[in-house]
Every structure is written in C-alpha cells, then in structure tokens.
Point group: D2
Chain length 336, copies 4
C-alpha cells in the first residue's frame, strides 16, 4: 500500500459515475453532455474559460500539452529529474521532435537563475530555442512550489516569449499540502498549460490538459487526435472528472494521502538511522537511510530509490493508518 499511488484502485464514487454515464447511445468523441459539464466544472475551478481536453493518461497530458507550445526546433527546459525527461521513454522527443534541456534541481524544484543560464541560446540557430519551462507540482521529490515561486518562473517565461507548463499529475496533493487552491497555484500565477491529473488520486484513467493561453488553444484538439488520445467513448473520462470534482472528492482523497504521508514521517523519525530527505508537501516521502538498507528495502517492496539512499514511499487516497503502522513494523524488523 506504500509502493505507489499508481497501484491503487478506483474510488467508489467514481465507479458510481461510470455507471451513471452508461445511458445508451450518446454522441462520440466528446460531443456529449457529460463532457460539456465536466469541462465547465474544471473551468469553474480556475475561472475564465481555459480550454479543457481530456486525454487518457499523464504522459499524454504532458507531451500533447507541451506539443501545443513547441515547434520542433524549440526546446523545453525542466529538471533533469522531471517525469517527462526520465520516465516517459522518450515520448516527448518522439512526438514533438524537440529537445529537452535538462537543468539542475534543488529538492526537485528549478530556479529562475538556472533557467536564465539557458537563455543565452535564444536566437542562436545552432541551439534548440528555449520555448517552454516545465515544472512538476508537486515535484518528483514530493516538495511543492509556492505560488510566488511559480509566478517568478511564469514571469521569466513570458519576458522571453516563452511558456510555463505544469505537470500536475498530483496537483490535488500539492493543493492540500500547501493550502493553496488550484486557481491560486495555476491561474493566478499565469501558467500557460496544465496537466491536471486524477488517476493517482482515485480515478480509473484519464487526465485533463488545461490550456490557459488562448493562442495555444486552437491547435489542441488536432494535437490530441493526432496524438492518439481522442477516445470515442469520451463521456466515461468526463464522468470520472464529474465524480472527482463533486463535493471536492479530490480534496478528501488528497487529504487522506497527505496526512498519512505525515504519519509516515513521524514514525520514520522514531527509527534510529533514518531521516526524511526532503520536505514532505504532498503524499510522497523519501526516507534517507544507508545504501545497504536502501537496497534491502527496495528488494523487498519494489519501491524506487533515489541517489542510492533515498527510498520513496507514497500514501494513497485509500491508504489507512493500519497500512502505515504495518509497514513501519515490517520496516523495523527488516532493518534489524
């Protein structure tokens, strides 16, 4: 139960919505009332009328969203640990034909200074032209940007005719972790494109590309189709989002996951030799331990290990206190 939120199932309320959407024939490819309603709900989270495009998973949300902002000779600046750089088997390069320009991170976050250091390439035809900054909120290390940090990156991007993209596959967890609303984190900071996730937090499949920048919005429907992510029975993605947003189910789910991540922290710190590697601002905890121990833990649970010493555990929307206690007990006995 602590290996990954990707291993979790589907929240019952979302299952219900799938049932309710199974009403016989409706128009396909998103021309249905479920989709119209889900789009409106997502727009209302942010205010304004951003473009909303449902796709089938997070990799597609990232790659197709970024594709709207990039021509092939342009590049995307991101942390070298970014999911798009290391966990998507080169989907970005293949689909966009563009280059990823990886830079250093600080506890998962990238800084204005490090981005600025890449901008010397602008207008030099020998180098890919920096055009998008992509960040993850929360980061791959479980930390979160403050709205002002995001705004600083957005300002930098816009000052250079560039765009800011946010990989929000766990945006709910960042919202709960920082106490900031989706709107405060994304709309008010002038993010251009958002990958809005739900699968890790109780949905079955599906993610939304939210396009705030109107000039990028026009091409998105074609990119989604050419990108092989326009499903015929799209209402079933839309219906899940309806369930996800109804009565803030997303928040309840993320609150449970984040609280249990905090519980993991407290319990871990009671074990001699263990520490917490990065501030825990979402539902991921990196437990720092000697390399030999980390190897043992990884072998047993199949969890990810960063830098040889930082073991990742993840609390889910459906994790329970007893899961955590069980894991901690088990961990203690493993390390003894």
């Amino acid at each position: 139960m602590i290996v990954s939120d990707n291993n979790s199932g589907v929240h019952p309320k979302i299952m219900d919505k799938l049932f309710q959407a199974n009403t016989g024939h409706v128009s396909s490819y998103g021309n249905d009332s479920f989709t119209a309603e889900a789009i409106a709900k997502i727009q209302s989270l942010f205010t304004g009328e951003p473009g909303v495009y449902f796709v089938l998973n997070g990799t597609a949300a990232n790659v197709l969203g970024l594709s709207s902002a990039l021509r092939a000779f342009e590049g995307c600046i991101c942390s070298y640990r970014a999911h798009i750089n290391v966990d998507e088997c080169g989907a970005f390069e293949r689909f966009t034909g563009s280059k990823i320009i990886p830079i250093a991170h600080h506890d998962g976050k990238i800084s204005v200074e490090d981005v600025e250091a890449c901008l010397h390439a602008i207008d030099n035809e020998h180098e890919s032209q920096p055009k998008v900054i992509s960040i993850s909120q929360p980061t791959e290390l479980g930390t979160a940007y403050s709205p002002s940090e995001i705004k600083a990156l957005s300002d930098l991007a816009h000052a250079h005719d560039m765009y800011l993209h946010v990989d929000g596959s766990r945006l709910s967890n960042a919202s709960v972790g920082t106490g900031k609303s989706f709107k405060e984190m994304i709309k008010d900071t002038e993010v251009d494109i958002l990958s809005l996730g739900g699968t890790k937090n109780g949905m079955m499949y599906g993610e939304a590309i939210v396009v705030f920048n109107k000039s990028l919005d026009r091409s998105m429907k074609f990119i989604r189709k050419q990108g092989m992510h326009l499903n015929s029975k799209l209402r079933f993605v839309s219906a899940q989002f309806l369930g996800y947003l109804e009565n803030d189910l997303w928040r309840d789910n993320a609150t449970n996951a984040n609280s249990l991540a905090q519980l993991i922290c407290r319990k871990v710190l009671e074990i001699p030799g263990l520490s917490i590697a990065y501030e825990v601002q979402a539902n991921m905890v990196f437990i720092r331990m000697p390399e030999l121990w980390a190897k043992k833990v990884s072998d047993k649970y199949g969890v990810e290990v960063i830098n040889g010493t930082d073991v990742r555990v993840v609390a889910s929307f459906d994790s329970k206190v007893s899961d955590i206690e069980e894991f901690i007990t088990d961990l203690k006995s493993l390390l003894n």
Copy 2:
C-alpha cells in the same frame, strides 16, 4: 442508434468486470493478475503465444502496432479509404515518420495485383520502401476478406520480406459475418500484427495489439510506452477483455449487431429508390440513394456519406429491432 457503434455505451457484463477488478492495490502498468489472465485468454483464441499489448484505443493499436514493423524510410501500403489514412489526423505519419502508400480498393478491399504494382520501388532509395500491407477486417465499407484472400496478401508480403497488418477494430463482426473464427481469419492466414478491437462492440475503452511475428514482438513494450499508451491502472483494460471473451460475449454482441444490419438491408430494399451499395458482411450498411436524398439524411442524422450517394448506418451490440423499425419509418417519411 444507427449513427455509429462508437456512440453506444458499455455492456453490463463488462461493467461488472470493472467492479470486480477494483480490489484495492495491485501492481501497476500491467504487472497484475487480471492482465496476465486476459493475455492468456487472447492467446488461447489464436493458439501459440502471440505478444498481447493492451492500449487505449484503435488509433493507437494501429499506429503503434505498425510502428513495430516499420523504420521511417519504409512505407505502409493500404486502401486510400483505410482508417489509418483518412480518419486518424496523420497519427501514422507523425508517430512513425513513414509514408502511407495509398492504393485503390474494390468494395473496400485491396488486391494482390494492386499491391504488386507498388513493389517496383523496392531497393530504389528515391522511394519509401514498401514494408507493410495493412488491411481492415471488416473493411471500412462493411465487406470482409475471406481467409484465402488474407492468406494471398500475407503470402505476397512475406515473399517480399514484408509484413501484413490487420485493423480489426470490428473483427468480431467480421467473424460472425463470415462464419470464420479469429484463428481462421488471422493466425491461419499468417497475419503478422493485429489490432483487436472491443470498444465498438461493448467495451468502454481499450484495444489489444496482437503480435504474431516474434521478431516484431521485442520492441512492442517500448513502443507502447513511448507511444503514450501504457496506462498505470492497466488492470481495468484487461478486466474488460476478460468480460468480453467470457462465454463469447463478443460473439453475442456482434451477432446482434450483424443481424440488425441484415434487417436494415431488408427494410431498405422495400423503399423505392434505395439500394445497398456493398455486400453487408458485418454491422455496417451503406444505403445508396440520390445525392439530394443523401444530403437530407446526413443533415438529419449526422451519418457519414461516401461518394455523395452512399449513406452509412451502423447497428450496434445494443441496438434493438424497434430501433431499426423506428429509423426506417423515420427515413421513409423524410424521403417522401
């Protein structure tokens, strides 16, 4: 109810399977028992151990499957009416970098002779190298190849170190329509790669790439991931296929759709001025009528029209006799 099988919902037995698969945490990305079982079930349909890779829709099944067989300087021969050529917004070209070599069709089918006429390009570096023949079974015009027609194309392909791909998004309907099993149509005819559909016939989402050629099989898992079609909660696609294959649900569904397509034919032929454009061997019926009438019908129902005169209607797994009768009555009054 006759516009498209894409407009249909999900069969209750498949909904049940989604519920049953919602068992808490299991390994993600297909490393779960539902997926193992679904793969075995599909393999047993064909015998042998073809590679089976679940993806999220038919465009992806086609493009990613074909990608396993093509390098960018090679090309894919298909009917110019093929779904990959006209209905996927250039997904093939973007993802593979290859060329489609479109040829004429005869009631939707391509012939050995027409393919042979393309083979002069082999070894001439100025032209894309023919490497795959792709056919649809049933075709986009509702006709179906006989096993011996498929075998002739497969023999031709293999004689030139090429591959044969089948777009089987409605393969169930072709099976029922021709009275041939999946194995007789695909395995015994030595097809190399199959897109095996289910969504149009009662599933919610998901399709399977079935790779019979072992040399193509090795790269498929990487192509699926890079192709943005490896879902984290893959068990929910697998579970649908389990429902689809259990007690031959696929056959019951296709039988209903095909029978109602035949009913449409009979009723249509009673209307003066209408005829059936192509042999109806699956669940699609093309009603031939004067252009003015076709325009009227298309405007009213939003159905596809081919060549200005051939109006496509499609019966679904959940269509009922009363749906057809209602449509026919309505059609008559529209045309009067």
Copy 3:
C-alpha cells in the same frame, strides 16, 4: 546527354566563382559578404525583401521550406506525381511529421477544383488539416502553369488561411518556356514559399528557399539548421548563385536546354509511331510510344518511363545539337 539534367557538370562561369570565393578565412555559416550579396541579388529578382536561405539540394529546399508552413497535424496538398510525394523517400513525412494529401493532376498540373474537394476536412479533427498547396513549376511532366493559374491557386490558398509553395527546381526553364519572369510567376502571383533551383541548370550544388510570407520567415533559419542544411562554408553556395545570376547566365543555360527540347520534339515527330505526350514548356520531353518500344528505350538509356508508354528525355544547359541528332539516329535504329 538526354537522360537527365542531373547528370550534367558545372558551368565554367560558376566554377570560376568558386575559385574567386576561395579567399582565405571569412565568417562561417553564411555570415560572409558573398552570401549577403547573393541574397540581395535574389531579392532583386523578385523585389521586396523576401527571406533567402541557401540549402544544399532540392529535397531540402522543398521539405524545409514546407516545414516553415506546417505543423504536424496539418497536411500538404499536391499532385500525386509531385517530387515530394514520390521521389524523396518520405523525407517530407519524416521531417515534418505531416501528411501529404495527393490529388489527381492534369498533364502534371493540379486544379482549383481538385484542391477545393479536399477542403471539407478543415476543422474536422479526425483528418489532417489542409494547410499548404504545393505545385511544381515546371511540373514533373514538363508543362508549366501560367501566372493566372498560379494566382488562382494562391487566391484559393489564402482564402482558407493556407499557403502556396512552388517547387522551382527548374524554374529557369519554366521562365524561358513561358516567357514570364521569376517575378511574374512567383511574386506577382503571391506565392508564399519558393524552392529556387540551380543545380540542374549549371550549378554544382545548392538551392535557395525564398520566403515571401513574413510570418513564415522567422523560423526558417532554425529549421534549416535543425534540418541539417546550414553548411559552414556557405559562401561557396552563395558564390555559385552569384555566377548563376550574373548577366542572366541562368537564362542562357535554360534557353539552350529548352531550345534543344523543342528540337527533340521536331525530330521525334518525324519518326512514325512516336508522338509527344505533353506540351513541352521547359526542357523535358515525354515521347509517347508503344510499351514494347518504351521498354527497349528505357533498358538502353536508363531513362524514366511514365505510364509504361511515355519516355522522358531531358535537354541540359550543356547539351548540343549534335547530342540530339546522335540520340535521334540511335533511337531510330533501336526502334527499327
């Protein structure tokens, strides 16, 4: 001497220019005075200040020029006989990720009506979006568009927010053949992008992309570099264009080639059983003959044959009357 103008060598005056440009060190990658002068010369042919980008061959001029006007989900309408469609090994698809939308031609030319028939796809996300019309001037069949025919295609393109591209690898021959200047054929007809050739007409290597549409111009230098066609010692391409344009060498060369093509026509028509397949408006002649004869001719000379009966011969800038007479004598004896 009649197989292809691609087989010819380099005009002595152009060789001289290569020598004269070999002046020791100058700035690389086009930041040199030869290049500045050659760009200005080309601009003055058309008036205004179109962007001029030297590349290394005609395929690159076509593909990179078109790339400036296309996003991957868009497509390029052209004759199915177009060089970009059949003679460039899929370079277009690989580099742009876009689809070619091939249409019928009439003696090599495409018509407004045939293009219009493709435009139904506009705004339908299931199909590649028509964005560029590409024509060849002269066509692959040796015919030429009149300025008013080009203007009609340009008007059609612009009315639909599309662009017009001209493959002018033999534009000199079309100019001489129609008596129209480069400006009359291209600038006055509001062409957006031109591939301006020289290699077939006396240069060693190199072609120019001329971009009339300012909105396409900005990305061209990056596309050329990413497209692997920015040479370090670019002055040697520029110097050739200086020689090509000086005292209208291009015109003298094309005049010789075209006159000899006319001589071929006259001589051919004296041979019983032979005719001229298409109007000869440049330096290519298609000699129509029975299939058996065509096979004989092709086997002997290695010339191209279209439709089994139309044998292509090409007169070059350096062809001589005696070359033609020799060929005709030889041909007569072969066919006896």
Copy 4:
C-alpha cells in the same frame, strides 16, 4: 585566422580535383566512377569493406549515421558537451525521434564508469533504451582518446548489444595529434559507425559516414536519401575526398594546424595570467584566463568561451606562423 577552422577556405589541390571532375555528363546520385574510387580509397584506409556514404556536412554525418543504429525508443549516450547535444539545434531529436542521454565528461572524454551508470535503464520500458554511445575524436575540448580508451567503450557497448559511434569531424587532427592511424583509432577498436570529416581541414563541403557494422549498413542508403543528403552531382563530393586522401594531403593539413596549435600554447604560456586549460592533442587550444579578460577576448574576436574562463582558439590547415604571432601580439596588447 584563429577563430575557427570553419572559416577557412579550400585547399588548392582540392579545388583542382573539382575542376578535374567537371567532365560533362556522368551518372547522378553517386553512380559514377569518382564516387566508386573515393569509396575504395576510404575503405583502404581502414581495410575491410565498410560502407561509405557521402553526405554534405558533419551534422548530417552524425545524425544520419546514428539513425542507422537507433529506433525511436532507444537513446544515445554522449558527453553533454557533444556537438550532437549542443550545436545541432536538436537535429538528432527531430530526425531520429530518440533521446540523447547526456553524461558528464572529463576534459571532453566520457568514461566507461559513467556510461555504465546509465545502463540500469536497459529493459525498463519507462526509460529510453541505451543503444549507442557517441564520442568525438578529438573531443570538443581538443583532447583525444587513446585507442585503448576507445576499445574499452566499444567493448562496453558490444557487451550490452549497443553500438559505438565516433564523431570524427576533425579525425585527421586526432590522428596527427596522437600518432595513431585512422585504422588504429577506429577499425582496430571496433567502432561501429564513423563520421569522417574533411571540411574543417581543407575541403569545401562533404563528409563521409563510414559504417563498419554490416547489420547497420543495409539501411544507410535509404536513411541518407530520406535524410535529404543524397546529392545529384555527388561526384563533386567524391572528387574532394580523392584530393583529400591523395598523397596524404589530410595529414599535411592537420600537421600544420596541430603544430600551430602547439605554437599557440608555447606563446600563451609566456603571458602572465594565462594557462592552457586542457591537453592540446589536436588543433584546438583553450586558453584559461580571468573571466573579465575572457569577455574582452570574446568580444573582440568572436571566439567561443567555455565556463566563462576558457577561450577557444583554433589553428587551421592554412594558418601560418605569422598569423599566430600576430594574434599573440594583439592579445597581449588587449590584455594590458
């Protein structure tokens, strides 16, 4: 004269060869005797019969050569300073669809250990599959690998079913600098693919892809054509290589450049405050100086500066002792 060898002109003996090749009509696209002879000459440098494919510049040699070894889901490991990573505007990503996996370098060279650290990704479908190691000989910092260092990387590659590529745009300089023949550096170390340059060392344009691995050789001619680098009048590239190899002109040219690079070193070390940043094993010298000075030098000469302090100067085949003395005098007065 010290800014870049890219700024140099063409050696007179190579100019002569261009003249001599201008013999009227010959078969185009490389089916001529000049090309056959040049291929044989290059093969004899290495022994065996490697495939030899002439292209038009170094970026194309790198990208097209690498493309023969890579499918899009695979990746290329190289120094993050590699020309393919930072100086080719993303040509690699666009043409191959693959990912570059950049690693640290040590004075320009990459180590077996650093490559090994990337190999954990093998068989993990979430990551691009390491398939090629690419090194530059000499490196972008003017250092050179010993044959045993190259062999170690080649052994590592082959042990993991991978390939080794060498960017040899200045291979002549490395050969002279290390006293090792082309064969000792490349063939005997079991390199799979070589980009063999000539333009920086006296040619006008053109580079050769040399393919030692027979399994990669088959696709190369198609990749070159699709890659827009098969020129019609290819004999003029071939003729240059004939001149380049005749009487070891390449060696004389490189010897001059390398000697003058050594002269630069000696002179620079006489200037207080300056040092030589990396071992000079070819014709590039990195002069280390305080940042303020480096800025001054860069502003004046337009030379490259690495890390803010290391100013690159390059000696060419046609540089003279007086050029160096003049530069040093000028530099001294600038820094005073």
